[in-house]
């Protein structure tokens, strides 16, 4: 089975003026996104993420190296048939209604007029914009724009969906809804390439990440591996009373293990916000449905300094 995206030794230079100087935006990048992954492409501004995405979308030609989408060179039009793309801060045709815009994109992707209309209603309903479908896109809020953007990206039922900063300028509820949509897409068997500066969101929904800096990939792999703490072991317990903590410390001490930290886990602010406004169902983290209140114990066998909090 061909990977959704396969990039080998990709280099992209941009000429600076008429001289011989060039700006190297991407430098010998190699990436592999398997099917049904939610892959996060991370990096600071100017790290080469957007250039990489444009190469994947066939909008830029690599200076060196190759990029394949489902086994096809990305610069071939056929490679984009299975790709849906949500650009950063999308400005769609403001004079069209949301429905007209999605239908147009469906037709451009090869759907018949009737099928495009049928699919447009499906995806518009799926992203929760049914009531606003006949409104002009120019009247949409940022969150609605992102959602209609996702709808147009999905209208032709692509296998690979590329989302460039999907939550830029969106409020926490909208952001959580988009995260929820991404996870639904994964459940539906789609592959998602996500480019975002919101690392907490990436951590919540991605299963693989690649970190880029100055055009190079400096780290990539499964999220769990990349974020794994080195040397420590974390145990979660239900409401451990103070005397029991001391007993545990003594018990561990007898075995040569330092109990470095005992604390109650912190909720993230976005989670508190969503709970307070009654949207707790949108809270999601990799590997757990939601955060459970309780005690968190961290121990370090080789630790010298022990600390209580």
């Amino acid at each position: 089975m061909a990977p959704a995206i396969e990039i080998k030794e990709l280099t992209k230079d941009f000429p600076l003026g008429l001289g011989k100087y060039k700006l190297r935006a991407v430098d010998h990048l190699s990436l592999r996104v398997e099917q049904n992954q939610v892959f996060g492409l991370l990096g600071p501004n100017g790290s080469g993420k957007s250039t990489t995405m444009k190469v994947i979308l066939g909008l830029l030609t690599p200076t060196a190296g190759e990029c394949r989408v489902y086994g096809l060179p990305s610069n071939k039009t056929a490679a984009r048939k299975e790709v849906g793309f949500l650009p950063e801060a999308p400005y769609f045709y403001k004079y069209l209604s949301g429905l007209e815009m999605v239908v147009l994109m469906g037709k451009i992707c090869g759907l018949s007029a009737a099928r495009a209309r049928e699919r447009a209603w499906e995806v518009i309903e799926w992203v929760g914009l049914k009531d606003a479908a006949r409104r002009r896109v120019g009247t949409y809020s940022k969150g609605m724009l992102q959602r209609i953007g996702i709808a147009q990206a999905l209208v032709h039922d692509p296998q690979l969906i590329i989302l460039d900063e999907p939550t830029a300028g969106v409020d926490p509820v909208g952001s959580a809804e988009i995260s929820s949509l991404v996870l639904k897409l994964k459940e539906a068997g789609k592959t998602i390439l996500l480019c975002s500066h919101l690392l907490a969101q990436v951590e919540d929904i991605c299963d693989h990440v690649a970190i880029m800096n100055k055009g190079r990939c400096i780290r990539q792999g499964p999220l769990a591996e990349i974020t794994e703490g080195q040397g420590d072991t974390e145990i979660r317990l239900d409401q451990l009373p103070e005397p029991e903590v001391e007993a545990l410390r003594r018990w561990l001490g007898e075995r040569g293990i330092d109990l470095r930290q005992v604390k109650r886990p912190q909720l993230r602010l976005d989670e508190v916000f969503l709970r307070e406004i009654g949207k707790a169902d949108l809270i999601y983290r990799q590997g757990s449905e939601s955060v459970q209140l309780g005690s968190q114990v961290t121990s370090d066998k080789a630790g010298k300094d022990s600390e209580n909090e």
Binding site: G58, A89, L104, C109, G110
Partner: protein, 276 residues
Amino acid sequence: MNSLRIIRLIAGNTFLEAVRQKLFLFLVFIAAAFIVSSFYFRDLDFGFSELKFISDFGFGAIVFFGSILSIAGAAQLFFNEIENRTALTILAKPVRRIEFILGKFTGVWAVVLAFTAMMTLLLMAILWYREGILMGMERFARDFPEGRKVLYGDILWVGFLQWLKFGILISITMIVAGFARTNLFTVVISFFILIICHLQYLARDAWAEIAFWPARMGVAVMGFAFPNFQVFNVGEYVALYEPLPWSVIGSLVGLSAIYIIVYNLLAVVSFRSREI
């Protein structure tokens, strides 16, 4: 077949955007007002030659405002796609750049067709109406011994040929827009080229007298690179009540087809390397 479908979809969307722009409606209104105003110059008592005046004035308005619409419309509709990043959304779909450029061209050309058709029909209506009045006037009755003299079918042909000329102009604008960074630059350069095309006959005339061969070559290249727009001034036939020769129509259709095809291919080449 799929390419034609995509071109049609992009063209349809471009047409929709254009007719919702104020520029299009404004030019339609102004051009129509110009053509209609020629009717009121009868107070100057042109007599029988009044029809020639209305015809010249009407075609002048069509050419002038049609040229503005062709250049400004093509530049605006192209840069809207770039600046609003909608081109990014479209080109990230299975759409080739040639389909995008041809779709934009066709859409703008369709808008100009609507404009030219409306103005030509308006001109025909005014000429028809005024000719009827003149025929009923005793002092001009002898000028119409065999009934109406204006060749209305030929007015349609002249309108059609002007539309072809606008097609060349739109293609030129698309070439410039392909590499230009701003809308203003595109409009200014395209208007310069329009002027060159209108004055190009001077270079052709001078060509025969140039002895210095590099200059002669340069002028010859200019003569082929830029079409001679003077050859599209066929409104005189209508004004003089002479039938438009088929040879003229045929040669202008052929000339337009060649330039439109070549220029659109150049526009695609110009746009191909553009970073979106």
